[in-house]
């Protein structure tokens, strides 16, 4: 954590920095979803695949919590981006 400067980008898709996440915590966020809703970390194309563990670390450090106490983002399909055309025509197995 010591090498996380405030201007470091955590969520690349939405360009969210360490400082943004600290601000979300100050505004009352206590978990991954709370951070996401306040500053958009994890809302982009990769849906938090890259940043979720980093957000988790920052949350734990800021709040003195363990990883399992800050939860994870809700799992939602699609697993990876898929076009609306493929979605409409695809076969559900």
């Amino acid at each position: 954590m010591d090498n996380f400067s405030d201007d470091m980008i955590v969520c690349r898709c939405e360009e969210v920095t360490v400082a943004d996440i600290k601000r979300a915590v100050k505004e009352g966020a206590r978990d991954i979803v709370g951070v996401k809703r306040r500053v958009r970390a994890g809302m982009g194309l990769c849906q938090g695949r890259i940043c979720e563990k980093l957000v988790q670390q920052i949350l734990c450090a800021e709040l003195g919590l363990k990883p399992d106490q800050v939860g994870s983002a809700s799992a939602r399909p699609p697993v990876r981006p898929v076009s609306f055309g493929e979605l409409a025509e695809g076969v559900v197995e």
Binding site: E14, E27, G28, A29, R30, D31, V33, G34, R37, R38, R40, M43, G44, L45, Q47, S74, R76, P77, P78, P81, V82, S83, F84, G85, L87, A88, G90, V92
Partner: protein, 396 residues
Amino acid sequence: MKTYDAVVIGAGAIGTSVAYHLSRDGMKVALLDHGDIAGGSSSHCDAVALICDKEPGIDTTMGQASIDLYKKYADQFDYDFEYDAKGCLYVCETEPEMVAAERYAVSQQANGYPLRMVDNKELCEMEPYIAKDLAGGLYTPPSGAVSVCPYKVCFAFTEEGKKLGLDVYTYCTINAVHLNPADHSVESVDTSYGTLRTKRIINCAGVWAPDIGKLAGVPIPIQPRKGMNLISEKVSKIVNHKLLEFGYMMSKFDDIKFKRNVSPLVEEYNVAFNLEYTKASNLLVGGYRGFRGFDIRSEVEAMKAISERAMRFYPCLKDIQCIRSYAGVRPYVSDHLPIVSDVDEVPGFYIAAGHEGDGICFSPITGLLMSQILAEKKTDFDISPLDYARFTAGKK
């Protein structure tokens, strides 16, 4: 023991607004939620406040009053809740839908609302990427159709309320409501933060309002009704207005009355097209409603049906990526009107819940009306249809 003039339970679009408006009146208010601010329905919904999806009468009156308040608060508040007066198009696929839409437009025009019909040509000019073979649409100008970011509305009311002395208790378990044994009036609330003494509780817990009602012996007939939407990757601005298919108006109610030329899957999931472009450059694509209890998992069949229906109206979606689906529950009341009311049986217990899909739209006006009820002032307009007593009449 802490003492409050009012304790508001539920920190969604309704509770945060009620807490803000009461604080503005000079009351000492506590806002309680079992989770985070905007952790329930208000972060699992879409983003618009419209008059054109309402029945003429109190629905539309509340919608317009709320839209006017959103405009005012967008200027006044420091917290940006992404107010965007974008206007709305109800798209009609066929001539019979145009006829029904026109009838609706005339009834709203009679009450002074500036809705008007647009033909195929004008529709295609207003939305260059829309399917070219549609009959036309019903247009509502920005004065009657705005969008906001629903969870940011909750944060905005909370942050503005805090400036006025509002106390916020999130991740708060509510264990009991104590009533005066003599007259059943509200005395206190037991919470995981201790006992809060108060003479007024406002139950704004939406789909969870029945649980809070039970603690005070007040049965509340609200059921969870599921809604689901899809989110696209970031794209350039290919949608100018809030778009819905005219059949959506009917799907809000019991079923789609117009017999549409749709696949069995679209029919089965009661899917009606709606589409909007967000400030973050994503598209929200909807939607479907159904009764599934509190199960808010995404349904793959519904995703298929939503995509299929959306491409009928917006063919270019075919090659745009969907990055996420989401679903939530709306607080459904069988007569489609919210409960904004005191409760005769329990003095000091109030309900502001049951807004179903109109919670975001009705958020500001519900907070204002509740502050008028608590101040025992005359409300801005007659809200007797929203009275809780409509469920208890005849049972006494």
